[in-house]
């Protein structure tokens, strides 16, 4: 093997090794930072890991919003029609957050199966329902809403 080829081989091996290292790191970081979405039913059944950052959401149950009178702590319930999830959060709720509307919260589930949310998201506009929520709603719930004359 002459020196030029040797040099090229070294470069190729270096590039392959860097490539492997980079893809390994990317896969690892994706795994670390991919936040899965869970429905209230899944969390009630204990399918969601505790203490892991995740997202969950559903329709905010009418009359479930409770505010602490002295701070910004709030608690509300969301449902997918089958189970109810309690979400606790301290902070400002988004503009379009409302009871009977869809909401998504991101945070960790504690041992009481309550989601301690660090962030609460509502829909972007009047006609939009987060796709995760739309797909997770049980058919029974959607039918019920329809017969109640819900505008959607």
């Amino acid at each position: 093997m002459n020196s030029l080829r040797k040099q090229r081989l070294q470069v190729v091996v270096l590039i392959i090794m860097a490539g492997i290292a980079a893809s390994g790191l990317i896969i690892y970081m994706l795994g670390q930072n991919a936040n899965y979405f869970y429905t209230p039913s899944q969390i009630a059944k204990g399918e969601a890991p505790q203490g892991v950052f995740l997202r969950a959401g559903g329709m905010v149950v009418e009359g479930s919003l409770l505010r602490d009178p002295n701070s910004l702590a709030v608690e509300f319930k969301v449902t997918d029609g089958n189970a109810v999830l309690i979400i606790q959060h301290t902070g400002i709720l988004p503009d379009l957050f409302d009871e009977g509307e869809a909401a998504i919260a991101a945070g960790k589930v504690d041992q009481n199966l309550v989601l301690q949310a660090t962030e609460v998201l509502a829909k972007h506009d009047e006609n939009y329902m987060p796709p995760e929520v739309a797909e997770s709603m049980s058919e029974a719930y959607l039918n019920k809403r329809k017969t109640e004359g819900g505008s959607r």
């Binding site: 991919a34 936040n35 979405f37 503009d95």
Partner: protein, 661 residues
């Protein structure tokens, strides 16, 4: 009538685009000069018709013609006139029409400025641009026609334009962004023409360089306007979220930045030729991908996309043809484009190579992070969102590496630079930056404790000062310390210097606003005060006010510093009359060294309100830096030497073009 005229004009534009795509290309092979020249007039004609079509849609908006579905969905009689006009590109159909308009505008610019190009080349470039126009015109006419009527009973009143979009930012942001996106179609067309003709010499690189620079400037401004808009209009003080829509515009920018650096080596030294071509293809493909991601609905939900696949499938197919076709052409012709010279050591070529590796790696990692949730959803792996930590983990070190190398930019020479000489030049700047970076954060602390000493700030300052001091040292050496010789430095040198310092200013804003950001969400009753970042905020009251198409609660917050009155801020909570949307309108007191940012949350009863207070040091530098970056690009694009050399070259370029291969 106007609406039908607009529709007809769009169809007419499509016909002209087809001729523009086909005839000059055939002519370039058969050698018919008149066929080749046809592309130029077709491009101008197409522009006239698309502009007419666009004007018709704008007229429909101004006249509140709610029989047009697109107008009815995005406008309203109460909407102020300037928002009616910007609503033209406020949603899907209209923004695609804007895409087409800008594309035909760029084609026209190429047609009018191509006098010095060999006819074969300009004919092929215009033909490729025409083909892209055909794709977009078809997409508009068949899947997203903005001129569709609501018949037989048109609504009396339109539903409103999304209040988030009723803002100056929206008037300017999309056109700027699209000017950038679509502008990269020009280097793409140049690359395809070069691949078809097998002509890729430094004259080619010199012709495409100004186009790349101008498109890149627009994209730079467009992205920073988007970030600025998110900062003050979304109401909560964030300026970058690693949201897929943002990533969609940032990826072409990174690839485009790599392209404009690699092409300089291609022009001056004839190296990285096939790589430059590949980057030109990649950049435009990413622009198309961005359009696909944002416009097909695939981001909202893969399933929504699958249930209403018409638009998505069309763009996906279009993307497939453009990317697949150009990569195939590249695979066939690319390998013949060999570098003609060599380089070694710490030459400018090596530095540009490192620059490209870092920029393209950043782009690739963002691409993976953006597409992974879509892929996971398609494969049924669950609903995933990739959080900002993933992006920051890769992006921050990659960009820091880039800034370290960037310091040497001006000092390196083509062919070969002695490493030791480079290091010697770096001694003084590195001492200055290190000392200042260690000392300056002390002045940012209110109490002298280690926990207040920000490491983020030290690293930021180190990198920023390094780039700035190295750039200034280079300027000092190049001008030999004489003010009079500053004017003799070329436009592209000034461009490089200003853009690099701009990047440093931008990084300063990012780093320091992250390090010293102070934020509090509080429940406040009128009269309450709070202390944040050395400022005292007093919540005075909330009043009800009436706007043109909304009702608002306007808070009044007085800010003091050490007892002295600083400013009175009035954040609003708006309720839009049509549609009933609620909007948070933050109030910001902006200065170069800090922003005071107050936004009104929800009413909590008993006169209490949730209020967010933020003090953001140096956050303005982010956008100031972006503007400097854009200014640098502009100076480089209009360097005199492009015009002068083009004149010289035009004499012998025609013969050169034919002689090549």
């Amino acid at each position: 009538m106007t609406v039908e005229l607009g529709h007809a004009a769009l169809i007419m534009a499509l016909c002209l685009a087809i001729i523009q795509a086909v005839v000059p290309m055939i002519g370039s092979f058969s050698g018919h000069t008149s066929w080749m020249r046809l592309g130029h007039s077709m491009a101008v004609g197409q522009f006239v018709f698309v502009a007419l079509s666009f004007a018709c849609l704008a007229t429909a908006f101004v006249q509140d013609d709610f029989s047009v579905a697109y107008v009815a969905n995005n406008s309203n009689t109460l909407l102020p006139l300037h928002f009616k006009l910007s609503a033209v590109w406020g949603a899907h159909e209209g923004s695609l029409l804007l895409w087409s308009l800008i594309l035909s505008g760029w084609s026209t610019a190429v047609a009018l400025c191509s006098g010095k190009l060999p006819l074969v080349l300009s004919a092929r470039v215009l033909s490729v641009l025409g083909a892209i126009s055909v794709g977009f015109a078809l997409f508009l006419l068949f899947t997203s026609n903005p001129f569709d009527r609501v018949l037989p009973i048109p609504p009396l009143e339109g539903s409103d334009l999304n209040p988030l979009l009723q803002d100056f930012g929206l008037i300017v942001h999309p056109p700027m962004l699209y000017m950038g996106y679509v502008g990269f179609s020009v280097p793409f067309a140049f690359a395809i023409a070069a691949l078809i003709g097998g002509q890729f010499d430094s004259a080619w690189a010199r012709w495409s360089r100004p186009w790349i620079n101008v498109a890149w400037v627009f994209l730079t401004i467009g992205i920073s306007l988007g970030s600025w808009w998110a900062y003050y209009e979304l109401g909560w003080g964030g300026w970058w979220f690693w949201d897929p829509v943002e990533n969609a515009s940032f990826m072409p920018w990174l690839a485009g930045t790599a392209l404009m650096h690699s092409i300089s080596a291609s022009e001056k030294r004839g190296v990285f030729r096939s790589w430059t071509l590949l980057l030109a293809i990649l950049t435009f493909s990413l622009s198309l991908l961005g359009t696909f991601l944002v416009r097909s609905g695939v981001l909202t939900s893969v399933h929504a996309f699958a249930s209403d696949p018409e638009r998505g499938i069309f763009i996906l197919a279009f993307l497939g043809i453009v990317v697949g076709g150009s990569l195939l052409l590249f695979a066939l012709r690319g390998p013949t484009m060999r570098s003609v010279t060599t380089y070694s050591g710490w030459s400018r070529e090596t530095m540009l190579l490192i620059n490209n590796v870092l920029l393209v790696s950043s782009m690739a990692m963002i691409l993976i992070g953006t597409l992974y949730p879509l892929l996971a959803d398609v494969l049924g792996m669950g609903k995933i969102s990739v959080g900002p930590p993933y992006f920051n983990f890769f992006f921050v070190p990659l960009m820091s590496g880039l800034m370290v190398c960037l310091g040497f930019a001006g000092f390196t020479r083509w062919k070969n630079t002695e490493g030791r000489a480079l290091l010697k030049k770096g001694v003084l700047p590195s001492i200055i930056s290190l000392v200042l970076a260690l000392v300056l954060p002390i002045f940012m602390m209110d109490k002298l404790t280690w926990s207040n000493y920000s490491l983020t700030a030290v690293i930021t300052l180190l990198l920023v000062l390094w780039v700035v001091t190295m750039s200034l040292e280079d300027l000092w050496l190049k001008s030999r310390g004489k003010l009079s010789s500053l004017s003799s430095l070329s436009g592209s040198y000034w461009g490089m210097l200003i853009a690099h310092i701009g990047l440093a200013v931008c990084a300063l804003g990012v780093g320091l606003s992250t390090a010293y950001d102070a934020q509090k969400d509080l429940r406040m009753v009128p009269g309450d005060t709070t202390e944040l970042g050395g400022y005292q905020f007093q919540f005075v009251d909330v009043k009800r006010i009436e706007g043109p198409n909304f009702i608002a609660y306007r808070g009044n917050v007085e800010v003091r510093s050490g007892g002295e009155f600083v400013v009175s801020l009035s954040p609003e909570k708006r309720n839009y009359k049509s549609g009933g949307q609620v909007m948070t309108e933050a109030d910001i007191d902006g200065q170069l060294h800090r922003d005071l940012y107050v936004s009104l949350g929800e009413p909590l009863g008993d006169q209490a309100w949730a209020i967010r207070f933020q003090v953001k040091p140096f956050v303005r530098c982010i956008w100031l830096g972006s503007l400097l970056i854009g200014l640098g690009g502009l100076l480089a694009a209009f360097d005199k030497r492009y015009r002068r050399r083009r004149l010289q070259k035009s004499v012998n370029s025609s013969s050169e073009g034919l002689a090549f291969e």
